[in-house]
Each structure stands twice: as C-alpha cells, then as structure tokens.
Symmetry: C2
Subunit: 427 residues, 2 copies
C-alpha cells in the first residue's frame, strides 16, 4: 500500500507541472497533503505499546509487568527483573517453539534467538501462535512480527536456516557464542537453548553444539499421535546427553526420512503442544530465576493424565566425543564442587543461628527455662485466692485414688506389676 501511495504522489506532481494555471496549485497542494497524511497513517500501523525502561511493580492497568513483579511480593521469585539479562535460543519455531517464544516474550525475557527454515502453512493453523494472514512467510519472520508487537522490550534475533546443514550449523554455533548482549557473562552467549524440533537429526545437531560449548539445554517433544509429550534438562557431563541413550532409530543408523510415508502426516493438537510448551518454559523460568524444583525429565501422557519423571546419568560409553570430554571435566571438578557445597552449607548454618527464626512474634510466645519454672514454684502458678479449695484435683498431678492400694506411681518395674496382676487373678 505504501508503494501505491508513493506512485499517487508522483502522478499528482506530474499533473501539477502540466497545469498552466497557478490557481490550481492550491487544490493540488491540498491533495498532496492528504496523500502525505495517508502515508504517515499507513507507516504508523496499528497501535503499538512503547518500550519500558524499567520493570515496575506498580499496580496500574497500564503496567505490562505488574502481574510478573507480583511474583516477588508473593515470595516466589527473589529478583524477577533479572529476567532482562537472560538470552534464550529456541530451535524450531513450530507448535511448541512458537508458543514457548511467546511465553518468554510476554514474561519479558532479555533476548530471544529463533531458528527455523520452514514457512507458515494453513496446515499449521491447528496449533497456537501463527495466523492465516502469515501463510507463506518464513516462521522466523512471522514470529518476529508477532513477538515484537507483543513486547517491544525483547531483543529478537531471527535465523532462517537449517541447523543440520554444514553452513547452518556453523552459523548456529557462532550465534550461540556471540556475547555482545551480555559481555560479562561466563560461558557461551546464551543462558539456555530450547530444542523444539520434530526430528532426531536436528536434536543430534543441538546435542553436538551444546556438548561442544558446554551449554545447558532443554529438549522437548510431542508424539506422532499427538496425545503425549515430554521435556528434558540436559547439562553436559552431569546428565545424559541425547546420544547417551539414543532412540532406537538413531542408534541403528536408519535415515528417519525414509520412514515417513507419502500422504501420511503426524497428528497434532494445540492442547498437547500448549501444555508441553508451558511445562518447558516453566522449567526455564525455574532454572533462570532460581525457584522451585527444576525437573530433569517430565513426561505428559494426556490419555491417562499421567506425568512420569526420571533422571538419567551420562553414559561412560557415549558415542559422542564431546560428551565424554564434558563427563571427564565434571568428574575432575568433583572435589571443588564438594568443597563449595560444604562452604555454602556452613554459611547457611551460620546465618541460621544469627538470624532469629520468628522476628515478628504476634502472640508474644516466649521460651522459659525449666529451672526457672521450678524456682517459680508450681504452687505459685496454681495459687488460689484465700478461703478457696479445689473440688477436683489439678490435672497436672497424678490423681491419688482413695483406698489401701499403693498409688500407680509407686510401682517400680514391670516385674512388680506382673506380680500384682497374678495376685488379682488368683483371688
């Protein structure tokens, strides 16, 4: 439409120059102003929200972060605003990856790196995120369009490439290494990689990159029948990598593309993919913002609403050389890790003794020493005003029953008790 308006302006100028009478200039000028106004309207597009300098906890309708900053007040997260420092790479912007990207964008993540080579099709409309008017665009372009409208504060980097090609893998690696967003960060340039791809070849490529870079990542997947899925945390050297216990198809070296039959497609549901994306990004938030328990593996069986969990140790015979190097490093770093853990626990013990446990004592409860209680004398607490006697015995002293039998408290041991019982029985 912009181009059309430009041509309109051009034609108007031609007409202007061909008009001999200057009296018409005013009319032409008016027309030109109208067209320029239309152009500015077209350029501005729909109403967009402005960038926000700092995340505020203020409870007003115009604050897009109030409900997130409330996580601090609720005691869930210590420092929510730290989310702006983090970079997350999402590989595969399909049914799971696109929703994961939207969730992180709405949470105000610092930077997102998006990787996909595919285009949006009408056949993708049964999952969340993409719209029919984006059909034909690359998934990365369509995602950037939607995400930048939702939250202009997020830095978006889009890579329209296939990470399983030589060139694609190189670009993938160098983009992960780029530290310009947060130069003081240790390790690679991203805090987490999320794998949201739909084939094993791409998963093996992510696995290779993350093992080489010693990069923590999370894997996700949804079954071909659309009714189950899983997420998994992979820390090179510490947990199993994707090659440590590969799926049968990978281990047997069959090209999975030969298994896909013409005219047959996998089923998919927005529900299963939405749940898997939600569990994946929840685990991501717990990992980055340090709250709750980060799940090493979480499955989702929707037919039975069953959620299996497990942990997988690395395989010392893993076929991936970089994995074996990370395992070796992790093993060698054990003494340092143990020492750090011990120091941390000691520091926590120390601070626990220093800080009082119950700072605000609403009910004025105080601890009284046993000896102090004795010196106060039981009589003093039980004291009655002069002239009054108790009708019933005090609950605190053993009740002395009337009669000749010795009181129960005089029985010294079990043998005595047995003898007394025998005597009673023989009567």
């Amino acid at each position: 439409m912009e181009a059309e308006l430009k041509e309109l302006l051009h034609d108007l100028e031609s007409l202007n120059q061909s008009l001999p009478d200057p009296s018409h200039r005013a009319s032409i000028d008016k027309l030109r102003l109208r067209v320029e106004h239309l152009t500015s309207l077209e350029m501005s597009g729909p109403v967009r929200r402005l960038k926000v300098q700092d995340m505020s906890a203020e409870v007003v309708d115009s604050n897009p972060y109030s409900r997130l900053m409330a996580l601090q007040r609720m005691g869930i997260v210590e420092n929510y605003e730290r989310i702006r420092e983090f970079s997350v790479a999402i590989v595969g912007i399909g049914g799971v990856g696109s929703v994961a990207a939207e969730m992180l964008t709405r949470c105000g993540i610092g930077r997102l790196l998006l990787y996909d080579y595919d285009k949006v099709e009408l056949a993708n409309m049964n999952r969340l995120f993409f719209r029919p008017d984006q059909v034909g665009m690359t998934k990365t372009d369509a995602a950037v369009q939607t995400l930048s409208d939702i939250n202009p504060d997020v830095v978006l980097e889009s890579y329209t490439l296939n990470i399983t090609t030589v060139q694609g893998f190189e670009t993938f690696m160098s983009s992960l290494k780029n530290k310009s967003f947060c130069p003081r960060k240790e390790g690679s340039g991203v805090d987490l990689v999320l794998s949201c791809v739909d084939n094993y070849e791409a998963r093996m490529a992510v696995n290779q990159a993350c093992n080489e870079l010693n990069q923590t990542w999370m894997e996700s997947g949804v079954s071909e029948d659309a009714v189950s899925g899983h997420i998994q945390l992979l820390i090179p050297g510490e947990t199993a990598c994707f090659a440590c216990a590969p799926p049968l198809i990978v281990a047997s070296g069959i090209d999975e593309r030969t298994l896909k039959r013409e005219g047959v497609c996998a089923a998919s549901l927005p529900t299963t993919m939405g749940v898997v994306a939600g569990l994946l990004v929840q685990n991501t938030l717990k990992f980055l913002l340090k709250f709750g328990h980060v799940s090493p593996y979480l499955g989702y069986n929707s037919l039975k609403d069953f959620f299996p969990t497990m942990e997988m140790k690395p395989n010392p015979q893993c076929s991936n050389a970089a994995c074996l190097e990370r395992q070796e490093e992790y093993f060698l770093a054990k003494p340092a890790r143990d020492a750090a853990l011990k120091a941390k626990m000691e520091a926590e013990d120390l601070s626990a003794t220093e800080v009082s446990l119950h700072a605000d004592n609403e009910w004025h409860i105080s601890v009284v020493d046993d000896n102090e209680l004795d010196s106060m004398g039981a009589a003093s607490t039980d004291a009655l005003p002069e002239g009054l006697v108790r009708e019933l015995p005090s609950a605190d002293e053993p009740q002395k029953l009337p009669g000749s039998e010795p009181p129960l408290t005089s029985i010294d041991d079990l043998e005595d008790l047995r003898r007394q019982l025998d005597a009673l029985n023989s009567n």
Copy 2:
C-alpha cells in the same frame, strides 16, 4: 483511513470540474483509479482464510484440518469431524479462558459462547492471547476479532455481561438454553460449560446455572501466587457440585472483595495459565470426542511438577437445592443405568467373540494344535538331507552327558535329588 480516501476522491472530483482543459481529464482519471484501488485494498484488510465446507484428511499444506483428522488414522479418535456439532460456553475470557477459546477454535469446534464484562488492559499482556493493539476493547470483542481471523468456520457468540448480576444471569441462562444451533440435541443448547473465572462469586453463579439446567461443566483455577492451578469435572447429581464442599471463604459467607487490598494484585504467568488451559481443553476434547480417560480432577503444582488427582462424591447435605434435586434424580436412575451398562457389556462380549483379534497377520503366525504337532513328529522338522549327521546335539533335547551317572531327566523327585547330593558330599 477509509474516510480519508473518500475525501481524497471528493477533492479530486472538485479539481476535475474546475479544470478548463479536457486534456487533463486523463491524468485525473488515472489518479482516481489509483485512489479507488487503494480503497479496495483498504477494505479487503489482511488475507483471510476462506470457510471450509467439510473437514478433509487430505495431506496438503493448504488444509487447516489435516493434522487433526490424522487423529483418526492414528486410532485416537473415532470420528473427529463430530467436533463441528458441539457447542462450548466459556465463562471468563482471561488468562485461561482466552487460551481455551483459541485452542477450541483451532480444533474447529462448532460453536463457542464467550462471556466476560471486562476490558483488555496492558496489565493483561503477561498472559497469552490478547495483543497491545486491543487495549481498551472489551475482552469479548477482542476475542471475536482474533478468533474469527484464525478460524472463520467456528460460530462465535459473544456476551459482554457480568453473570453475577440479576440481568446478566438471566441472559446467561437463556443463552445456554438456546438450541437453534443443534435443535435435535438433548438437554440444554450447549455440550459443555467451561468456567475460567477468577472469583468464587462467579463460580457459584456458574454452579447455580449448571445445577438448574442439569448441565455438565468444567471448572478451572490458578492460584494467586501464579505457580499452581487445577481443573475439575462437575456432573450435576453424579459428582460434587461447587457448593458441596465449598472453599472456606464461601462457606463462611465472607465477601471476598473485602479481602482484596488496594495496590496489591495477584501474580500470574503465561506458563501456568497456558498449562491449565491446555489440560482443560484436552479434558474437553476427551469428553466430547470420547477418547482416553476424562479426569474428574487434576491439579498442577509447578514448583514440584506434581499433578494430584482425586474424585469427589456429591454431598447429601449440600446447601444448593438444585444440586439435591439432581442427586435424587441420579439415585432414582440407578436401576436404568445398571441395566444399560450390563446390556452394553454383554454386547461388547458378543462382538469380541465374533471379531477376530488380529485381522492383518503380517508375519503369517498361525496356531497349531499340540496333537497335530505330535503327529507331525519331531523327527520330520529336524530331518537332515541324506548323508549328513549333526556334530552338536539339538538344542531342544536334554543333553546326554557321557559317563555312568543316570541322566538328569531320570530323577523323579526332590528326595532322590537330595539323596544323590548326600552321596556326592560323603565322597
């Protein structure tokens, strides 16, 4: 923009009439054509997908239903296309309700009824669905705008009202009773009501309506600290209703609005709400399309990734009169229910004996009678070509060791074995 283009056209006409020289008419005509073209572009809006007459399972990129119809091929759903006959009412179009509506829309549900009285705010942008350019619109209008773009096949009805007011409740009731979409349907005009509201008063209103109409519904909720949630199935008379075991705040008759403090808001996360919406709509699909196990209650504790389940029977002392009526009806219908169940099980037993279990026998496995095997003779299967002898014994016969000891097979009982062992030990 449309109005601006109209004025531009008008000014152009004025200029045309003021021009004395007809030689300029051609230029003016050209300009007019350009403006008309711009107007038609503006009117058409973004590319929209056309309505689809029938759901097709054809695997082409342009088919928005191919991945859903694949659920039939995968053996998950018997008849996916039935989804077009169903009507679902969603009360509360917030963080859970809007995502539930989008999922059902993308699944191609027949008809959605949407209820909310609230407006979209920037403070809602930390959850999925609404966009910043919709700020100020009612949630129902914004939802209809987005959902009709995503899937024009879905019939959308929007009710901008508060169901806890007298007038709102009446409109809510009559909209649920309206059967014009599917006149032959039994009961009310909707197949399921989904409660996605954020307060108890509205839940009690949904409960009242569903108890009165004998309407099955599902309830959902997310905690104030944003890290847990639940979904629950409520069948009047059969399961507990919302008043059977009310939350303490409802039972004690405290107005919950007095508990909400000024300047304090509940936390919320797109992850938790996305997961709860996904579990809710998954349960809805299982309920409507009859597959898998429909969960009576499913909780989600995101800090521990724990998913509690339970069942709740109705309370015979429930404070809700309509609930007690439904309980009575359910009790009285027990003999009929038992008879129907018995007939169904007998029919299934009958069909199971008639239908062969393994119709396609890819490996040509057949069952052979034991006697038949004997008559075939072991020798015949082990037969060797003339002139050949076996070097090693056949694996099927017990190996006869050389020497004087009786073969193991001659030992009749344990006593014999013990005696032999003793003899060996005494040597």
